[in-house]
Structure formats: structure tokens, C-alpha cells
Point group: D2
Chain length 312, copies 4
């Protein structure tokens, strides 16, 4: 996450600004506004703007004229009630905008969340930075033997070294050839006056999927929580999960009451199918059914026992 | 637009707030923040929060680190370029939230714009106010004879008086019966201890479509401009157009450069079909075609001539 | 749900059609296609078109070239897996289109589901039918004493009779005045040549919220299931729930495997918060906590005990 | 666009199917259903399902009970009216589903159109094909000197040859290393039993952006037309434009009346800003203004003159 001198100055100026506003302000979020939170080897997430706070959720649910004079405790209770009962619209009344630097293959997962606004750095107009993601050694995982989607043990020794070499060499070489085809250096200066240079919109196709891109990404709080519940989840790919976790911290700073309710009712919650519920009731009644008779597949049975903290 | 004492106080408190923020601030919008702009006989629009300003559009288009140091003139040029070439995503990076009081039949048109967030005052939980829209005399229009969708001349004399009487009496009577069925007065006090009162979610069905409701409505700037281009248009029904016009003023206060570009390239723009363009080219070449040979219907021909400021 | 002779003929012609297609066909849905399913006193739901079947979900999940040659049992397993793990996109690949006749106050709840396509009968152009919803006697519920949103006991005797009289008389009178203001009868014939008639877009405001409207409503299967999980739920208002239940039957006829999974993993499922899960674990371990120490509110505690089938 | 034997069989079976349906059928689209239309060097577009036809637009606009008995000519008139006046909802009532094979950098542009449903072939689960896009010689364009977003002259001779060599070699090498890291061949067979193989979700990051991916992509007709108006436009990048053009042909086969109206009122239409319109009016009045006094920038002036077929 190396910034140029210009970028550093832009950031410093943004941070130095102080304005007066009548709008609600989130004290927690103001403190970290604009500041890049490092993610992966060259990426970051930073909040660039926001609208609303915990009270804005309450205010919208009540369609009130002012900020409300109810006790803070009532606000907490209402927020918990709304989140628990899937009343999503009051949470749509808060909005946040991030600037994110992320590998292209992560961006391709991320963009599947359609209920957000995005402006991506355009490689049709501009030259991408010479930065690409290389996994840390403890993230160099083998394909899982039991789960087609998951990761298994971490690669060791020669195999690990070979993988890292390949990733580094291929990304570097492809980037260098990208510049050669453009006939430009990374700052846009022509290399060889005798050549024309391939169009940027074409040359970019030589880049690898671990090249870094950037975007502005804006979402309302409801859709952000949906994004986080999927991407901060243990089943999400590590490389997007670390972004989600960094963003979860910004949510905590921004809307602490919503964050607490989200943790209790969404992140830490479990859903039991009708068959699973029947098993639990049977267990409580002292008549625990066998897996075979439960209507649950073996996989679901294992999942249920894990949820209940028992051996399968 | 009569407010209760409590509402007046809530508004006054909201307006009195001053906070420090690092976020960009729109000086023009801060001045009118929270203040209800009267619309129709009992309605209003008021801005309750916003995010971003003209620079936020530029910042997103450039995916920049700071607020940018470019000249204001360059910002204007870029905004005009983006709006002219239908680059919609940078305009999605600004957000605005309104509190609106409006007749139910207007709300039913408005809600058709799906790309917005809405929290409506719930008549399942609460009792609606005793307010309904009655058209002003100069808006009491007859059905248009030439346009199935439009209004014709304004009704006069006896017929006008009869219409207003019917609207007033029916709305009033239905509202009174609504309270009677609820067995509550407008403040929620039980009328007759000997009765149970019909459920609110049922009693509301007796209300007329000119009863007023309220909602919080939030949109990004791109979708707001789409809404305004359709609803501030001369073909929109008067009762929703007056809301759109009030909101257009808030856009002008908020993002003056975007507002100017919107006026030039959207509100004041015209679209010519390929056949219409052929006619214009013919006229400029001194070979104006006849309507019959132009591929335009008579209606389209009239529209084109109106656009060009000529007689059909 | 009285149809005119013309409507009856249109329906009969639509039902009589037979075409050859290469597209997948849902045998169950073809049988009920076009046929109105009566809902409430004058409403209906009918399927007018659809795209895809159970296999289309599987096909999209596999991004396959053909219809797949896998065993039906594997399809069932995959569908259950996808629904259980919130893989929503394959379910978005099926689409269904309904024609619905419904009271306006129900339409106002329904339209809040934004991820659908809607064409509503326009009262700006056309005259609405002389039909309004009157609750059946067993639905004439009092306001719930314990739940601000719910219904309590059914009204009886005089109070019930009075409510029904008011609803009927007010709706009828307002409709008659609507026609009088229009200066048209329900078939659009001018009543009094000496009057102009109020514009339709204005006259409609005199109608009550229990007047019936109609629309075409189209949704993908994923968003339809979201709609049904909220509106076929016991907490939904009765008047929209009966529509959702009728639609649930069409889903069963259309995509029986998806319907079965939806019933097991969504309709019959329960979500336990992290605190609720801790209570369940404690109960299974023989250390059931007290409500006060559980972190659950009294209300949540009651909900949990109801889920588990125990006394609170 | 080489298919495996299995894929060929799946396609043949799909094409051979014949079912009876009561749904409306588009004769034109049935003929090309399932059949891949080649695009670029290894890509394709093929229609895998659809819902509705020209009449469905009319039917929804009228909220009718049957297919309508109006004359075909009236249908055409209504469709043209609806499209011309931006009545978008009736066009949302038709739906189409494509299977597309396309380079990843094209997929990244395409996915920005959010109002569609997508299932992409997952490189977390599966191994991508050994196919990557190499531009044809006449598409090997230099960066435009006048337009930051555009292409200039086609590269010639040595520079062209060098570019093609680099693109081919880098894509091939990176793909081979991808398999090596996976420790699998393209059919998923383990190469070296002594190694574990990197997780698929990681190894894919070594692929280049011209590697081909596949997806199912589904859209309603309104949003499809928006997509096509942007991507079949002369300003779109060639590599996505050829997909849009192939899809435009499928629209013509599917809904010929909508296609005709789209061509006249959208693809062939021009939008004039208020200042441009003033210039045209001045020209028609014999008082053509100078550019400097017109309020148009030089660029806009050139655009206007191009539209009018005059020299700037």
C-alpha cells in the first residue's frame, strides 16, 4: 500500500478539513475518516463519506420530524427489534462510501453484490499500478480434499516456494509486457517514439487476475450488512473476508448499536430447518432421533451437531 | 401543513444543531436543511440529510485519493461531459434523504420509482392525520378531449362547486367513520370504553386516496435526476409535478454544477428519432419533406414542428 | 370476481391455445395457466406466463450446455443445497408473471417489494370497476391489545354490523360520486351532455382504499420466495397473506423440488440468535439458564420457548 | 468455440426437444434457440430460454385478460408509442436468458449492468478452459491520439507481430503454470501424486484477463435494450460491441416490432441539448450562430455538425 507523494498530500488535506454541519455526525467514524486501513499486501479500505448514524435508523422507522427525544435505551431496543424481525428499510436510510484497493479476482467476487454503487479505476483510460497480490506463506493453501470450494492444508517447502515463484514471475513479466505493448512507462511517458503503442483497452488483457485495481464503492447499511454477513463469514474466500472484516470494524465505529444487533442476530445466529428443529425438540424431550430417521442428510446432521456443540 | 407543537419543537432542535465534520459540505443545502417546503394544500418536502456535493461526482469519476486540486472550471467541464455522455455511476455517489408529506394517490405514482429507499408512516400501527388534498380552483380540470391522459379546461361555476363539495364531504365523512370504527380520536384516545374498535390495519381501508401520508425517501443523485426528468416534466400529473419542482430547487442548492448540466442536457434537451433527424437534415438542405413521405405519424410530425418552433 | 363476457372470452381463447416449443415446460403449471384463483371477495391471482422449471435452477448452477443428464435425485440434492446455503442466483433464473386483482391498500403493501416488474391498471386513463373489499365476518378483527401491529378478537354483534355498514356505504357512495364527477358511467358513457366531467386523474382521489385495482406482476423465483416468506408468514396482514398462499400453490405446481426445499429451509425454519443458541445448548447440557441471566428479553424468551415447544 | 463431445450432445438433445405449451411462442426465436452464435475467436452467445413476445408488451400495457384481439397494426402503434415516450414497464414483462462465453476483461465491463441475473462458471470449483482471446489483425489498434478512451490506427508489421506474440505467449504460459500449481490437467486429473496442488480459488489468480469465462445471463427486455443501446453503440469497446450486435439479432428474431421501434427511437435517435436545439432553430431561421456565441464547446459544436451532416 505505497502511496505516491501526491496521494499522500491529497489524503493529508482531506483529513485536515473541518466543516460545520447541521447533519448528524458519527463521532467514531469521523476519527477514522479518509485513513486507509491496510488489507492484504497492497490493498486497503478507507471510508470517504457517510450519511446517518444509529439515530437515523430510529428516525426513519418512526418517520419523525426531528432527531427524537426518546431515551438511548429505547433506541437500542427498537434497533434490535427491527434487525431481528427483518425490517430492512430503516437500515437503508444510512449510507457509506469506501475507497478500496483490491486484487481483480477479489473485485470479481465483490461486484456480484449488485445493490451498491461503483466507480472503478478505468484501465481503458489509465495505466494500472505495478502491484499484484502474492499470498502470505500461511495462506498458500492446498485444495481441500473434502470440500470442493474450500482450502485444505497449507503448502510447504518446495511446492510452496515454486508456487510463489510462479505467481511473482508471471505477474511481473505480464505487467512488463503490458507496459511494453503500451509503449509507456507506469507514469505514462512514451518509451519509444518510433512505435505507436497498443490501445490501453487492449493491452490490459495481458494483466493477471492478481493485479490490483481500485474503486469507490457505496452502499446503504442494509445491503452492506448483507454483504458482510456473506463475506465476513467463515465460508468466504480468505482474500475477500479480510476486506469484510476491516469494513465490519468501520461499521462498529459508525453505528455501534446496529453493529451489536448485527453480531447477535445475524453473524452469531444460526438457522435451523424444520427437520433440524424437530431433532432439537426430540433431544430436549429426551427422545433424540437417529440421523437416519431424522430426515437430515449426513452432512446436515454433522452441521446440526456442530451448531449444538455435540459430537456427531 | 399545520405542525403540532411537538413537531415544531423537533424541527427547531434539528435546525439548531451544529456539528463539526471532515466530510464535504454543501453550503447551499445546509441553509435549507430540515425546513419544510410547502407543496399543495397540506403537503411538504424537506431535506433531512445528504451526502456529497459537486466535487464528489468528480472525485468518484477520477477514483481520487482526496478532494482534488483541479480548477473549479475543470470540474464543471467534467460534470457536463459525464452527464452528456450518460456516465451515470459518478452521479450515484451523492445521496439525499427527504421527508415528504403527500396525498396517497401521489404516493402511489411516486413509489413506482423503485431505485430509492422508503419508510412510510404505517397506518397499521398509527392513526393518520385528518388532512386530505382538495384541488385549488385553478386545478379543477376537466378530462382532456384530445389526450386520454391529460387535463382539459378548468371546470367552472356549479360543476366546480359540486366537485369540491363532494371531495370535501366524502373525505371528511370517511375519515370520521375511520375514527368511529377505530373507536379512537385522532390522538389515539379511546372514545367508547364499551367497544373494542376495529384493527387499524383494517379501518384504514375506509380512507380516501386524497388522504395525506408521509414518508422518508432517499435516493442517489442519478436516480433522483431520472425521477425529476419524468416528474418535473410538463406531461406529469400536476399533483406530483409540484413536488418534483420543489425538489429541483433543492438540487440547485445542493449541487449547482450538476443542476446546470441537468437543465441543459436533460430537462431542456430533445430527442429526435432517426426519421425526425432526416426531416431536419432535409429542411436544412432546402428540401423539406412532406409529413406523408417522412415516415413520421401526424402526431410525431406535430411534435417535431413544435420542437423546431415552426407551424405544423 | 365477476368477469365481463369479453373477459371470459379472452380467457377461454388464451386457455385454448396450444403451441410447440423447444423450451422447458412445467407440466404442473401448464394445467393452471391463465385460470383465475379467487382470493378475498372480488380478487384473484392467475399465472399468465413463466420461464424455466426445477431443472433450470440446476442448469444455471452448473452453467451447462444442455438440460443435464444427471439423475433427478441429484437435482433435488443440489436444489436443497443451494437453497440451504443462500445461493440465490440460480433461483433468479426462473421467472413468473401474474395477473392480480387486489384492494388498493393491499397493493400498497405489495409494491414495497421492489425487485419485481409491475404494470398497473391506470386510473388516469381508465375507469375503475365498482368493486371494493368488505371483510368476511370472521375477519372483522379488533385491534390487538398486546401487539400494536396485530389483530385481536373478532368483533361481534352490533359493532360488527355497524363497521360493515360503514365500509359498504362509504365505498359505494364514494364510487357513485366518482362517476358523477367523471360525468360517465362505469362503461365510459357520458351521463350529462351539459357537463364536462372532472379529469380521471383527479376524480380517482375520491375512491376508498378498499377499491380493487389490477396489475401484471412479474418476478424471478428468488425474489418471489422472499416475497412469500414475508407475506405467507403468520405475521403478515391477512388480506395480503391469502394472496401469498394462493401463489405458494402455484410455486408448488411449477417447481415442486424448489417448493419442497423452500418449505423445509425457509417457511418451516427458525433463526436463533447467538444468545438463544446459548440457551438451547445450556438446556441440552442440563443447565438451563433463567431468562434474566440469558441475555434475552422477556419477549425473546417467550419466542424461544414457543419455538422449542415448551412453556415459557 | 470448440465444444467437447459431451457439450455437443447436450446441445443436440436440447435442440431436439419439442413440447406443447399454452404460453405465447416467438416463432423467430424458437428457430435459433440453444444454437451458439460465434463471437470473437472462441466466444459465443446463445439463447437458452425466453418469456413473452411483442404481444406481451401490449398485453401488459393494457393489463388485459387475454392475448387481445386488436389488429396487429394497433399493436405496432402502441409499441412505438410506449418506446418513444419512455414507458419502460411494459418492456420489462418480456425476459430472455443467454449462455455466453466471453473474455474476462469483457465480462468485467458487462457485469456493470446490474439489472440482470448472472450465474458465472466458478473457478473456485472448476478448472477454466485453455482458451484466451487474441485480437484479429485488423483489431490490433493503437491508442487514439485524440480520444483517451478510443482506438487509433491499426498496428502494422513488427509492432503488431510482437504484440500478438506477447499476448499469446503470456496467456499460454500463465495457463500452463495455473495447471502446474493446481497439479491437475485441464480435465481435473492429478499430475503428480507427490504434490498437493494449490487451491483452485488461489491458482486462478495467475490467469490473464483475456482468458475465457462463461455465464448464464438473464434480463428483461427493457434492461436488455438499455444494455444494447450502450454496448452496440459505436463508442463501446469493439470486444463487447460484437456481443451486443449478436444479441441485437436475437432481439430482432424474438420481438420484431420492439426491435424496429428500438432502431428508430433509440439506436438511430439523437439527443440535442437546449443549446444545440437553439442552434438548429437559428439555422432554420437563416440566422446560424457562430460556435463561440452558441454556448456550445468546440467539441459539442463538432458533434452537432456531424449529427446534422454538415461540415464543422
Amino acid at each position: 500500500m505505497e502511496l505516491t507523494e501526491t496521494q499522500r498530500q491529497e489524503l493529508a488535506e482531506a483529513e485536515a478539513q473541518r466543516h460545520e454541519t447541521r447533519r448528524p455526525v458519527s463521532a467514531g467514524l469521523e476519527q477514522i475518516l479518509f485513513r486507509p486501513i491496510p488489507v492484504l499486501d497492497h490493498g486497503f479500505v478507507r471510508v470517504v463519506d457517510y450519511m446517518g448514524d444509529d439515530s437515523a435508523v430510529v428516525q426513519a422507522a418512526r418517520v419523525s420530524y426531528g432527531r427524537g427525544t426518546k431515551a438511548a435505551n429505547e433506541d437500542r431496543g427498537l434497533i434490535r427489534y427491527l434487525l431481528r424481525h427483518r425490517h430492512s428499510t430503516p437500515f437503508e436510510m444510512c449510507e457509506i462510501k469506501y475507497h478500496v484497493k483490491l486484487p481483480i479476482f477479489v473485485a470479481r467476487q465483490w461486484i456480484r453484490h449488485r445493490m451498491a454503487n461503483v466507480n472503478e479505476y478505468s484501465a481503458r483510460y489509465s495505466i494500472l499500478d505495478r502491484e499484484f497480490y502474492l499470498p502470505a506463506e500461511d495462506q498458500l493453501a492446498a485444495q481441500s480434499a473434502v470440500n470442493r470450494q474450500g482450502r485444505g492444508h497449507v503448502l510447504q517447502g518446495e511446492e510452496a516456494a515454486r508456487v510463489l515463484d510462479l505467481l511473482r514471475e508471471d505477474a511481473t513479466r505480464n505487467y512488463d509486457h503490458y507496459l511494453e505493448m503500451l509503449n509507456e512507462d507506469a507514469d505514462g511517458r512514451v518509451i519509444d517514439e518510433g512505435r505507436q503503442g497498443l490501445a490501453r483497452e487492449l493491452a490490459r488483457m495481458n494483466l493477471t487476475l492478481n493485479a490490483y485495481t481500485q474503486w469507490y464503492w457505496k452502499s446503504d447499511l442494509h445491503n452492506l450488512l448483507n454483504f458482510l454477513s456473506l463475506r465476513a463469514d467463515a465460508h468466504a474466500q480468505y482474500e475477500i473476508r479480510v476486506y469484510a472484516e476491516a469494513m465490519l470494524d468501520t461499521v462498529k465505529a459508525w453505528v455501534p448499536l446496529v453493529h451489536e444487533a448485527f453480531r447477535d442476530y445475524r453473524m452469531g445466529a444460526v438457522t435451523l430447518s424444520s427437520q433440524m428443529l424437530a431433532v432439537v425438540r426430540g433431544m430436549l424431550d429426551g427422545n433424540p432421533p437417529e440421523q437416519a430417521a431424522s430426515g437430515l442428510s449426513k452432512r446436515e446432521w454433522r452441521e446440526l451437531m456442530a451448531i449444538l456443540g455435540r459430537e456427531a
